[in-house]
């Protein structure tokens, strides 16, 4: 094993740090939860007579006006460049940029934070596990707590974990401006124009539409079993019942696909979804895309030069 630079610390410091971390997480969850619930109860029926997430909407955000094809290429390109960085500094800058993007795109912050919260458990594991498991290099700084000498805390591991967490959060935050500033149909049509096969695009659209129907069917069937006393247990009977349940769900879904296809045919479907919108490229679209790609390249250069 390669020895690093060891810093001895009292155990109480670790306990205090863990406690502080737990309290902060709890506080964050509570604040987010109350903010979310407040939003829900105060929620009124939106005005559905105007397109709420459509590029033709009156929305003034740059992202709403941006041609969806350019948006896809530029933001996904930026996301790839972010992922290619290595340092936590570059990851933090990317995170800051993504968060600003959410604000500029007029997307609800609580929704983005909720998305991050959903990822927090998985990402939290990186922060905890990587400093303890990363291979030690001679130049590494190791924090050793008294009484826990067998478990050195590697600061380079923490940096690596922070870089991963920062990059993941930056990319996740980009998803709102990328996907929620145009209708799904328009975004998918944009993908088709960029070369994604039409069948795949149609499958995305139909899957998005029918996932809710299937979930509702599954929920009703589950209730039907529940009201007859079914409780999942670790037994062969449960396995048999769950098999029947899934089989039935499959049969119903299969029958529905036939009916949906018949409904599509009977309204003139001949293999492709007609796109009910125009695509018009402006100089602004090119400029906007260029700026994003340059930002990404700049970030990568900073990362590489900083590392050097």
């Amino acid at each position: 094993m390669v020895e690093g630079q060891i810093i001895q610390l009292p155990l109480v410091l670790l306990l205090a740090a863990l406690l502080l971390l737990a309290l902060l997480s709890l506080l964050a969850v509570k604040v987010l939860k109350s903010a979310f619930v407040g939003k829900q109860t105060a929620q009124k029926e939106p005005d559905w007579s105007v397109p709420v997430v459509d590029a033709d909407a009156e929305g003034t955000s740059l992202f709403h006006r941006w041609d969806v094809r350019f948006k896809l290429v530029a933001l996904l390109g930026f996301a790839f460049l972010v992922v290619a960085t290595r340092s936590p500094e570059a990851a933090m800058i990317a995170l800051l940029l993504s968060f600003s993007t959410v604000l500029v795109a007029q997307q609800p912050v609580y929704r983005s934070l909720k998305r991050l919260l959903a990822m927090s458990g998985f990402l939290g594991m990186f922060l905890l596990v990587m400093p303890l498991t990363v291979v030690t290099h001679p130049e590494d700084i190791l924090l050793v707590f008294s009484g826990l000498e067998f478990l050195p805390f590697n600061l380079r591991g923490l940096q690596l974990a922070l870089a991963i967490v920062g990059k993941a959060c930056a990319v996740a935050l980009l998803m709102e401006p990328l996907l929620a500033t145009a209708s799904l149909a328009r975004t998918v049509e944009g993908l088709t124009r960029l070369g994604v096969p039409e069948k795949v695009a149609q499958m995305i659209l139909l899957a998005h539409r029918y996932i809710f129907v299937f979930l509702e069917e599954a929920r009703r069937m589950k209730t039907g079993m529940q009201v007859r006393g079914f409780k999942p247990r670790t037994s062969t009977e449960t396995l048999q019942v769950m098999g029947n349940f899934l089989g039935m769900l499959f049969v119903r879904s299969f029958e529905r696909t036939h009916r949906v296809y018949a409904a599509m045919q009977s309204r003139g479907y001949r293999g492709r979804f007609p796109a009910p919108f125009y695509f018009k490229v402006t100089a602004g679209d090119w400029l906007h895309a260029g700026v994003w790609l340059l930002l990404g390249i700049g970030l990568l250069v900073f990362d590489r030069l900083g590392a050097a």
């Binding site: 619930v37 829900q40 109860t41 105060a42 929620q43 005005d47 559905w48 007579s49 105007v50 397109p51 709420v52 459509d54 209708s183 799904l184 149909a185 659209l205 139909l206 998005h208 539409r209 029918y210 809710f212 129907v213 069917e217 009703r220 069937m221 209730t223 039907g224 079993m225 529940q226 009201v227 007859r228 006393g229 079914f230 409780k231 019942v241 029947n244 349940f245 089989g247 039935m248 049969v251 119903r252 529905r256 009916r259 949906v260 018949a262 409904a263 599509m264 045919q265 009977s266 309204r267 003139g268 479907y269 001949r270 979804f273 007609p274 796109a275 009910p276 919108f277 125009y278």
Partner: protein, 608 residues
């Protein structure tokens, strides 16, 4: 005996819009769905396509817009067979409304759904928005233009599906069970829309009052053949013929006539009923009781708001209300699936979290769609599922399975596959799955939805005999009248009225509950009752019949037409209050004894 040679009741000149000759169709599994259908449809016809489940109605309409290919026989639309380019054109001119609107709304928003058809028709993008707005405005959904389809209520979905067709300005509109699961308010809107539609209307429905309101012609299919092609008035005036095809809904008319109290009478009856209720209430413990009970969904929607009601042992209560009033949420709370705020007692005991979880032992629920509660490989397994969860011994489980199946008239169905049963049988099986658990309280959610009149009548008979305390959720005032003593009217999560069923029916008749009044149905029922007026008369009349007869030496039998004078029971109408009566001018095919007539010499022309 059927008159298979009758002409369509509406004469038309010129070419037929649909010309069907000897159409036959066999599904890949070998089931012969159509066995030589002959039918001509004129432009502007309004046809009710009737028949029992499995008679071939859906298969026939799938041929009409080319969803199924013609295997044998001929089908012409505007003089051309439905293949190639004419088929594509026909699909853009013929609108088919599916029974489940989720099948038809397959895009992300209403705008995309409604514009799908017109875009396929080649309508330009510039003219699209006004067209979409116009179609949605016609069904009262303009303000939901950009709402996702999966966020709409069932009634809204149904209307949106119709808007998708109306935007295509179809020449033919084919509707498959358009009123299934709609509340009366939504049904009224639908009827109003269809009344104003000027193209050809073909409507598959088990709701004969709805069909009577909108259609002039009734085509009855039986085992893949056209058995009757009447005017709608002639069909509803002929209960024996309807009964033969499982379509006789006269029990509904009789029921309505019995329950239709004049407002004054209802007002007098009400306090007495309340007094009886009060005495009964004092004598028996409430099986279930809610006090100031509210429930809010996770998304903030207040589904129930301060519900207070009690149900005594042996009592039957109807819960009525428009779609989205909170009926299903209330049922879920009563079953212990949802847990709201407020007092919830069962048999006098306050329910905690643990007791609520065990409510399934005491409360049984039959879902609106039997598919939601049928998932086993055989009927016996299905019915045994509940008793097994109760931990009953094997012998007792078998006894309960047999008894429950017998009770719903499915004795001997133990080894049948639930998925292969007819709609009515599946519904009865769903009831058996609950009865086998011997619940103290039985909850029925729209028990007759989607059943043909014969299935409906049988189910009603079974339900009447059940001894359990009952809660019935329905949009159908007839069922309320037949099965309950008390009615709870829900509106936006609150109890709007809680009174005797007699009072509720009086309100229905006065149409004071606007959202729940099916005014056109009462008018139709009255008209049909008049049409079914029949008693014995003697007069000279012409009719069409088949029997052995003689032409000199030749004795043979075939349908023929001539005049008789003799007594017979005949459906007829009276001119005002006079004793004079009139028959349909058309010769009617019917049978009654003709003493000596068969021996008399006949002289009519024969075809070669």
């Amino acid at each position: 005996m059927h008159d298979l040679q009758r002409l369509a009741p509406i004469d038309f000149d010129g070419p037929a819009q649909f010309e069907i000759r000897n159409l036959q169709y066999r599904y890949p599994n070998g089931q012969q769905a159509l066995r030589g259908v002959d039918l001509s449809v004129a432009a502007g016809d309004r046809i009710a396509l009737l028949g029992q489940n499995g008679s071939g109605k859906s298969t026939l309409v799938k041929h009409l817009n080319g969803l199924l290919p013609v295997q044998q026989g001929a089908l012409l639309y505007q003089g051309q067979p439905l293949v190639g380019e004419p088929l594509q054109r026909a699909r853009l001119e013929i609108g088919l409304l599916f029974q489940d609107p989720d099948d038809q709304l397959f895009c992300s928003t209403l705008y995309d759904d409604v514009s799908f058809g017109p875009l396929n028709q080649g309508v330009s993008l510039a003219g699209m928005e006004p067209l979409v707005r116009q179609a949605l405005a016609a069904v009262g959904l303009e303000e939901l233009l950009y709402k996702a389809s999966h966020h709409l209520s069932f009634g809204q979905k149904k209307r949106a599906a119709l808007a998708c067709l109306l935007a295509m300005k179809p020449q033919v509109l084919i509707l498959d069970e358009p009123t299934a699961n709609l509340d009366p308010g939504q049904e009224n809107i639908l009827v109003e829309l269809l009344r104003n539609y000027t193209g050809t209307l073909i409507c598959i429905t088990h709701d004969l009052l709805f069909a009577y309101e909108l259609c002039q012609r009734a085509v009855v299919l039986d085992q893949g053949q056209v058995h009757h092609d009447y005017s709608m008035a002639e069909l509803v005036a002929d209960p024996p013929s309807m009964r033969e095809h499982g379509l006789d809904f006269s029990f509904r008319l009789a029921g309505l006539a019995n329950h239709k109290l004049p407002p004054q009478q209802a007002a007098v009856a009400a306090p007495e009923a309340q007094l009886v209720d009060a005495v009964a209430a004092a004598e028996t413990t409430a099986v279930v009781e809610l006090a100031d009970y509210s429930y809010r969904y996770a998304d903030g929607t207040q589904a129930l708001n301060g519900i207070t009601f009690a149900l005594r042992a042996g009592e039957s209560v109807a819960i009525v209300g428009e779609n989205g009033a909170g009926k299903t949420t209330l049922l879920n709370c009563l079953m212990g699936i949802y847990s709201g705020v407020g007092t919830h007692l069962f048999a006098g005991h306050l329910l905690g979290k643990q007791q609520r979880r065990l409510l399934w032992r005491k409360v049984g629920m039959v879902f609106q769609d039997p598919a939601d509660q049928l998932f086993c490989a055989s009927c016996a397994e299905e019915v045994a599922f509940g008793p097994r969860q109760l931990g009953l011994p094997k012998d007792e489980v078998i006894r309960r399975v047999d008894a429950a199946l017998e009770r719903v008239r499915l004795g001997g169905y133990q080894d049948r596959v639930p998925l292969h049963l007819s709609g009515g049988e599946r519904k009865r099986l769903a009831i058996a799955t609950v009865l086998s658990m011997d619940p103290e309280l039985l909850i029925l959610d729209e028990p007759t939805a989607g059943l043909d009149p014969q299935g409906e009548e049988l189910l009603l008979e079974i339900l009447r005999q059940l001894p359990q305390t009952r809660i019935l959720v329905t949009h159908d005032p007839f069922l309320v009248a037949e099965l309950t003593q008390r009615t709870l009217v829900l509106h936006r999560g609150k109890v709007l009225q809680s009174y005797s069923t007699a009072e509720f029916l009086a309100d229905q008749n006065q149409q004071s509950l606007n959202l729940l009044a099916l005014s056109y149905k009462s008018d139709c029922s009255r008209e049909i009752l008049e049409l079914q007026h029949r008693h014995e008369h003697i007069h000279q009349h012409e009719h069409f019949h088949e029997h052995l007869h003689r032409h000199g030496e030749l004795v043979h039998s075939h349908p023929h037409q001539h005049e008789h004078e003799h007594e017979h029971v005949f459906t007829h109408s009276h001119v005002a209050d006079s004793t004079e009566h009139c028959h349909s001018p058309r010769g009617r095919f019917h049978e009654h004894p003709h003493p000596d007539h068969e021996e008399q010499e006949h002289s009519h022309e024969h075809e070669d």
